[in-house]
């Protein structure tokens, strides 16, 4: 790899990382503001214009707080757990294409950090690794609330990982590749070529599974305040708690971006050929990607303040008895259709 290529990759990593962190900050603000709006309140509007600097104030508050390590915790794992959750959450965004290609210094630069040929599996693998942070935080805290939260999260995430993976399989069948870039290019063209319209069932399963994977309401049983105090992060304070928080929101950002990539054409603007439009096309594609992702991030908050929490047995029933068979049937139908059309 030459020097220029190295620099370009470094810049891309920096851009994606800072954009993710910035979105996380915005989400912390948006969550409070949107929830307030939905309840007829105003929400934080004092720090900065419209309260936009609130997350920074919150961050400073987290940094200044006393870092409490309770007695009787398993110290190494207790300290390791937040990082084990945060790192996969931040790594996941690397394979998501956030725009078409741009030409810089006479070379084609795809707007994606790494174009792995097993991209989608990489994301699934990393999301499944994220469980360790929750489980170990729950175990190491030496508190019954944390332990129950950790146990719940491990069972929940494994159950919904299956449904999520299988719903993605039908998308992979359509695109014929595990590369996210190919999946996006497969959805180019007019609006109906987006995978939501081709795979509505897979989309619904994926959407539900994503809410379970990110521990968001209506599936936030791992931190159900009313029963578990704070779930796995009950015993955490200060910046370590903030790391859990950041990881949760980073996971949401990635999940929203992934939903867009798999089912809403990624950076595709319908009826437009971005790749042939040069710089303008690239900017448009990035904008469309941001807009779509923003909508799904809003949907996360919207759903949270609309639906009540599931009971644990309902959660398991939904995962194993509804989502999993539905996803399998969907794969079967998709595969059958593809076989029949290719025979002709």
């Amino acid at each position: 790899m030459d020097f220029l290529g190295f620099v370009i990759i470094c810049v891309k990593v920096l851009v994606v990382f800072s954009a993710t962190m910035l979105t996380v900050l915005m989400m912390v603000y948006a969550e409070r503001r949107v929830s307030a709006f939905m309840q007829g309140r105003l929400g934080p509007n004092r720090v900065g214009p419209q309260g936009l600097l609130q997350p920074i104030a919150d961050g400073i508050k987290f940094l200044m707080k006393e870092d409490i390590i309770p007695a009787e915790v398993n110290k190494p794992i207790y300290l390791l757990a937040p990082a084990m959750l945060l790192i996969p959450a931040l790594m996941t965004f690397a394979v998501i294409p956030f725009g078409s290609t741009i030409t810089l210094f006479g070379r084609e630069v795809p707007l994606q950090v790494a174009d792995l040929n097993v991209g989608i599996l990489y994301i699934l693998a990393l999301t499944s690794i994220g469980v360790y942070g929750l489980v170990l935080a729950g175990w190491a805290s030496n508190s019954k609330y944390s332990l129950i939260g950790g146990l719940r999260s491990s069972a929940q995430l494994i159950s919904y990982e299956l449904a999520m993976g299988l719903s993605v399989v039908s998308v992979i069948l359509l695109a014929g590749s595990l590369k996210l870039n190919v999946i996006v290019e497969d959805q180019q063209g007019y609006l109906l070529s987006w995978n939501v319209f081709k795979q509505p069932v897979a989309f619904l399963i994926f959407l539900v599974a994503v809410y379970a994977e990110t521990n968001r309401l209506p599936f936030d049983l791992t931190e159900a305040e009313q029963e578990l105090v704070g779930g796995y992060h009950t015993e955490y304070s200060s910046m370590k708690f903030a790391m859990f928080f950041t990881a949760e929101y980073a996971n949401m950002v990635t999940a929203a971006a992934l939903t867009v990539t798999l089912f809403f054409g990624g950076w595709d603007v319908p009826l437009l050929n971005e790749t042939s439009m040069g710089a303008l096309g690239a900017i448009l594609s990035v904008l469309s990607f941001i807009l779509k992702t923003a909508f799904f991030l809003f949907l996360f908050i919207w759903v949270r303040w609309t639906f009540p929490r599931f009971r644990y047995d309902q959660l398991m029933k939904l995962g194993w008895k509804v989502m999993l068979p539905l996803a399998l049937i969907n794969i079967f139908v998709t595969g059958g259709y593809l076989t029949l059309t290719s025979l002709r």
Partner: protein, 165 residues
């Protein structure tokens, strides 16, 4: 650079594997095993077997070990309770098995006719396509038999766990 990475990953794999066995704390063992899987995945990556590398993390580290951890936490096994009278039998048996396994592996490695000495191209399992084709044509019967075996194991477990079905 690449050989250096291999030795690095191999050292971690061996080190963590030994610590898995030696650790008295079941949760530590589980975490170390996950670290071992990661270094194995790195070795797969160096062999350009991307698919296998990701599957290693996805299935072993991401699903199976999480279930193990779940069970460990559910039973709340912290420090291992030493069961002295099983100790010597256990050690002797494991030592015997390790020696048998080691001899077997070295025999395969040393013999000329083994699959490991085939050329790189024919043995590449990196691509999804190559792997899929191999599974559904050449190794279809073993593949299906393995899935049947898993199903049998599943039914057996349910039967054992539930007295009344």
């Amino acid at each position: 650079m690449l050989p250096l990475l291999f030795y690095f990953a191999a050292a971690i794999a061996v080190g963590t594997a030994i610590s898995v066995v030696l650790s008295r704390n079941a949760v530590y063992s589980a975490i170390l095993l996950v670290a071992c899987f990661f270094s194995l995945a790195l070795i797969y990556l160096l062999l350009e077997a991307y698919f296998l590398a990701v599957l290693e993390i996805f299935i072993y580290a991401g699903a199976i070990m999480v279930l193990f951890l779940f069970v460990i936490m559910l039973l709340n096994l912290g420090q291992e309770k030493a069961q002295e009278h099983f100790r010597y039998l256990q050690r002797g048996l494991s030592l015997f098995l390790v020696i048998v396994f080691f001899l077997g592996v070295s025999l395969i490695l040393l013999s000329d006719s083994s699959v490991l000495h085939q050329s790189h191209e024919t043995f590449s399992a990196g691509g999804v396509k190559v792997l899929g084709e191999a599974l559904f044509t050449k190794y279809l019967l073993p593949f299906e038999v393995a899935s049947l075996l898993l199903l049998v194991a599943l039914i057996g477990t349910v039967y054992l766990a539930k007295q009344k079905i």
